[in-house]
């Protein structure tokens, strides 16, 4: 399904990223933070895509653990990589914004710390797959499930604990002048996520097909 939708998601992503800079430029400055607040239009969607990727990875990992299907394992791998990529975007753009807005690069508050931990969990998932040896896919799937379970806590952390990070109520309260660029950027990032997921899945499928071919070659050599 993703492969069939790939040309459309790619076209929408390219079109979206052509339009979004104009919308961000047109959006008004925030009253207290000024220009630096414009990082928000890439920072927040990156964060949401990190959550979407983490959920995708967790659900695919659960499916792999219970059914053993290789397609689910490939999807989990692709989604785990995208969680790390989008997470890295969040963890870099956030401190750049924070340095100007809060006066510090980093604060060990609930949102920032839990986001860092989430990113580290999925990095650990990838490291387990890479270096864990045969059978490490199931261990990585278990780590991914644990990571997925953390996503709701990361999201609500700003509402439950006292943090420097803005609360989740900020986004629904955005006026049209900021809301339109924000939601447009969010839709563009979703298309980007689906496009990257399709490409990464394709790579995983080709790598599995190559492995099958090597096994076939080994069998032929053994019986020759």
């Amino acid at each position: 399904m993703l492969a069939r939708a790939f040309p459309y998601t790619l076209a929408l992503t390219i079109a979206g990223f052509f339009v979004v800079p104009f919308l961000i430029n047109q959006a008004p400055y925030e009253s207290t933070m000024g220009l630096v607040q414009k990082i928000f239009y890439f920072h927040a969607p990156s964060g949401m895509m990190m959550f979407v990727a983490a959920f995708t990875c967790g659900i695919a990992s659960a499916r792999f653990l219970f059914t053993g299907r290789r397609e689910s394992d490939r999807l989990a791998l692709a989604a785990a990589e995208l969680t790390v990529v989008f997470g890295l975007m969040v963890l870099i753009t956030g401190p750049l914004w924070a340095r100007k807005a809060w006066g510090v690069w980093w604060q060990w508050d609930a949102r920032l710390t839990s986001s860092l931990l989430l990113w580290m969990m999925f990095t650990a998932c990838l490291l387990v797959r890479r270096f864990g040896g045969p059978g490490s896919e199931k261990l990585a799937a278990a780590v991914a499930l644990f990571g997925m379970a953390n996503v709701p806590f990361v999201y609500i952390s700003v509402n439950v604990w006292r943090t420097l990070h803005p609360r989740t109520s900020v986004v629904p309260s955005l006026g049209a002048s900021m809301g339109v660029p924000f939601w447009f950027a969010m839709a563009t990032f979703l298309c980007l996520f689906l496009t990257l997921l399709a490409v990464r899945l394709r790579l995983a499928e080709e790598q599995d097909a190559l492995e099958e071919l090597y096994l076939e070659a080994d069998d032929r050599t053994a019986f020759a």
Partner: protein, 93 residues
């Protein structure tokens, strides 16, 4: 009885320590500290951090990250496809 007294003393000491530290932390800052502290928003313009480089770096990091990741995927896909073609040819022969 002796054990109860010892435990009570230890509990009092352990409880008093953080309480003392907390009360020390809660004391209002001295006059010198109050005079030197300036909120970030009240800094004079020439001492404020410029926003433009931060915004440019943020967007630049995003684009660099996406392009590097896409480039890596492209390269790996090409290598895998090439290897598959080579292997298929050798299997056919």
């Amino acid at each position: 009885m002796k054990r109860v007294v010892v435990c009570s003393v230890i509990a009092l000491v352990l409880g008093a320590g953080p309480a003392a530290m907390g009360s020390a932390a809660a004391q209002p800052p001295s006059g010198a500290a109050m005079d030197e502290y300036v909120p970030v928003a009240d800094l004079p313009p020439d001492e404020q951090l410029p926003a433009v480089p931060l915004v440019l770096i943020a967007y630049g990091v995003f684009w660099a990250g996406v392009l590097v990741y896409v480039g890596t995927l492209w390269r790996k896909l090409g290598a895998v496809q090439k290897e598959m073609e080579t292997l298929k040819r050798s299997l056919r022969s």
